[in-house]
Symmetry: C2
Subunit: 558 residues, 2 copies
């Protein structure tokens, strides 16, 4: 018993140490910490093992479901993290990893993130965030102004208004999109007469009140998958997320959009929201926002723009015209952890009408009281960290012109890469970049030519084989660990069917033209592998079939 | 023109520096970074100014809505952050700040957070997180096992299963609660016959399919406000979040629960979910989970337990009995940024049935493909940071026994504080702690006694005045900046009306009994202020009225 008590006291003392005594600089964790401070790029380069272990093997290191009974020394745990986790993580900041939306981070983001963590503010209410609340409100105003360009008087009136907020900080673009459509739904089904609004009475009664059989969200086939989640979550049903075909440039087909709306009206389905995309996730294209705004206003429905990717294009004097019409949107999603170069976990939605979020306002007895400036009364999430600091830092330190340079650089680089692909005999460009995202596939030039003459059946067979080629190519390249592109499936003219394509995102300012050349060069080497060559041989056989038997060269002539 | 180009080149070079050259150790930001590494408690103590400036004044520093055109030097920006933001933030880690759910953090959380930020993984998919995906799956399994205590064979089968997940990481408890109820809703309205399920057909058709007029969520009046948001968001309507009265210990009244269910059935409203609370936000009480589980099973409805606060009580051999029945819940919410001592922004939900989340499963062409182990196919959020590392670190370094000590300490301290309040002549304990949260108010003992004899009208007048006293007391204490308690409104026996109470959360292991004594002592000083004394004088007048004229002491007797 007394021994037990002694052990308990010793454990308690150790516990206090964890809360009161920092890691020694010469400890394992202290060492890692300093290595990251000194040179994060070097740290990542050294500690992430390039060559991929299989996921099965990695899982073996994370298989126990038992919470350890006894404490572990920080040093011992750190060794584990170094060897089993860090070594087997993804070098998302590497300039040759151009397949995803995560870039290298500006250096100042790291110490400021630590400051944010150390302060551990909770933005749900002023009482646990104080100056961070005005800071977040300011950041929302800055992004609101970037999009809507109202005047000083407007912002003076609304930025610190205790009844309203110009938008909401979110953990990411998905919550931002959900918030926007939640607001749209609740505004369409707002209280009127004896109907107390959807927030109180629910969706079924709202439809009865509106006299319709459903509410539809309309977006192009390139819309982000979060919109499907939103349609499900909000009770509309995925059937009512109506996906419209796109033109050859992955932009919504306005004619089909209008026809679909007419069809929906015939079915007594009311359009809740049009969603325009400013930078499709897969191809980086921008919908015709002006025309969509016109049509939304004609329909009298909410116009949301998902600018999670492309929003920061507004920083660029040269390229912002691509987003013309965005200021007519009722709500706009922006992701700070994408092209604002903030670490993972920061999205935003801004609303044209500063009173829009009243439709989702909520209160409680212990916080978010009426008249308080607590931001939590207008957000989907509750407790939230002070990520606004990192957005504020980016906007201040990099500045409008700095972001402009980053945006322009990425778009130029995408044009350069597109040109490299066009010039290369073995690759086919499958989407022309408007912003800094493009797609292509491995498909030798003569196969591209032959496919134009192929029957549908022949073309389908060839494309199925090429799908396998590109899938293997992408997988092998990822596993080799030197460079990385992603892949998706797209319907791409001149083909009627979906094909597998490689996808490239060019937002890392450290990605050079030489790196782009090396990515293509590596892909040319990978296709020489036996399994891919076997597939390509089958492609050649079908091509021969399409072009007829090769002209026989008569050996006897000479 | 050439000058413009020169400027552009210079800006570009500066931009590259931001991405490639770390802050010098002797720079302002480098200095802050090292100060935090060396001694975060000292840093916070020194840099956060105790005395409160008014929010209006602070807002003036964050009023511009214009994004700066030109870049700012990191050093200059850091000075701004130090003076205007850090100085005016809240010292959430201070051991005397016992009014909110944020504690001091274990030291190792800071360097590991930096590591997490530097790695910048995205947990939506394996391609951008690799080993972090098995790590997160392991953490979900550990928490699942803490709650459900299945055997090894169960976890071996499910932890890394590519079709399913044992739960979901979330930005916080709100998203966790929403996810749980989303799953519950979609499972109740699952595909059957020609009905393709609510995810596709939406809520209105689902009600038709089920043959009912609404779906209700039942929870006690102490339920977290996020449940109201969930009812709204999911299309059920807040009217269908049915709030049940509580007993004297803030636990759901089972009799009323059952009566209400009968009433709902008469109204053709179907119970979707019962929500039990394991640690109410305001008073830390735990619902009778066994009886609720029995009743949920009788109803055949989903049983969710919101254990965002109290979940980690399961670590304690002595106290875990308080949560008896939690293993019968279909889903359980846990917040890592509360009693797992992880920085802000980490919640979780676990599901008893590992296939439950199929009801909200989603896929896309470029990620979350069928058969992949991408966690994003079962989460409400999309891109997410690698916060699982910090939970994993806590569970490993602190261990089950370490958390047990923290939990037991907090509960003991709450008992101690409750006793201090009971013993004190000027305070009234308004909720008896089961866990480490309690409420009380300033109310002198003789007023408490007199109130028992008062008419309803007299009691209401006194309580209204005491509400003002306690509101001012809490505000003045917060503004003085030395210590902090929060406040809420509760219906507390023997009173029939809601009254304003002070709320205390005792989770910071650095909070000592001496600090608790000093909190009460400070409150006794604050009530001496003129405005509060004026209110108390009015209270005395009403008390005199209740007790009749004071017995006159005849001066002439002696």
């Amino acid at each position: 018993m007394s021994k037990n008590r002694e052990t308990a006291r010793a454990t308690l003392e150790n516990l206090y140490r964890i809360f009161t005594i920092p890691e020694a600089p010469d400890s394992t964790l202290g060492g890692i910490d300093q290595a990251i401070s000194r040179d994060v790029a070097g740290f990542l380069q050294t500690h992430i093992v390039a060559l991929e272990r299989s996921l099965d093997e990695i899982e073996a290191d994370f298989s126990s479901s038992i919470i350890p009974e006894e404490p572990t020394y920080v040093s011992e745990y750190t060794e584990f993290v170094k060897e089993k986790l860090v070594a087997q993580s993804v070098h998302t900041a590497a300039p040759g990893f151009i397949g995803h939306m995560t870039s290298a981070l500006p250096y100042f983001m790291l110490p400021l993130s630590r400051l944010m963590t150390a302060l551990n503010q909770n933005l749900v209410k002023v009482e646990t965030s104080k100056a961070f609340t005005p800071l977040e409100r300011q950041v929302l105003a800055m992004l609101h102004r970037l999009v809507y360009q109202n005047d000083n008087a407007f912002y003076d009136r609304w930025v610190h208004n205790s009844e309203h907020a110009l938008g909401a900080f979110c953990s990411g673009g998905t919550i931002a999109n959900v918030t926007a459509l939640w607001v749209a739904r609740n505004r369409l089904c707002s209280p009127s007469g004896t109907f107390r609004g959807i927030a109180h009475e629910g969706l079924a009664r709202s439809l009865k009140h509106l006299g319709c059989d459903g509410l539809a969200i309309l977006v192009s086939r390139r819309g982000h998958y979060s919109l499907g989640k939103a349609a499900d979550l909000l009770g509309l049903g995925r059937d009512n997320l109506t996906k419209i075909d796109t033109d050859a440039n992955n932009r919504i087909d306005l004619k089909q959009l209008k026809e679909t709306c007419r069809r929906l009206q015939d079915e007594n389905i009311r359009p809740l929201a049009l969603v325009g995309i400013a930078g499709t996730t897969e191809t980086g294209n921008v919908d015709p926002l002006q025309e969509m705004a016109d049509f939304a206003s004609e329909l009298g429905c909410h116009f949301h723009v998902d600018a999670a990717w492309g929003g920061p294009t507004l920083f660029s004097e040269r390229n912002r015209y691509l987003l013309d019409g965005i200021s007519r949107a009722d709500s706009v999603t922006l992701d700070a952890h994408k092209q604002l170069y903030v670490p993972m976990g920061a999205g935003m939605v801004v609303f044209k009408d500063p009173t829009a979020q009243s439709a989702i306002e909520h209160h409680a007895a212990y916080i978010l009281r009426h008249g308080s400036k607590d931001l939590g009364s207008h957000t989907l999430e509750g407790s939230r960290p002070g990520k606004a600091l990192l957005v504020h830092a980016g906007l201040s330190i990099i500045g409008r012109k700095g972001y402009e340079l980053l945006i322009d650089l990425g778009i130029e680089r995408a044009m350069t890469y597109a040109e490299m692909i066009r010039q290369h005999p073995d690759f086919e460009l499958t989407s022309t970049p408007q912003l800094n995202i493009l797609t292509y596939r491995y498909c030798p030039e003569h196969v591209q030519q032959t496919l134009l003459r192929a029957s549908e059946e022949q073309r389908l067979r060839v494309n199925l084989l090429l799908d396998q080629v590109n899938q293997l190519l992408q997988k092998d390249q990822r596993e080799a660990g030197k460079t990385f592109v992603s892949r998706t499936r797209l319907q791409v003219s001149p083909y009627a069917e979906e094909i597998t394509v490689l996808r490239v995102v060019l937002a890392n300012p450290l990605t050079t033209d030489e790196i782009l050349e090396s990515v293509l060069a590596e892909q040319c080497l990978i296709v020489l592998q036996q399994d891919i060559q076997a597939l390509l041989k089958q492609v050649e056989t079908i091509c021969d079939e399409i072009d007829g038997p090769p002209v026989e060269v008569c050996a006897e002539v000479n």
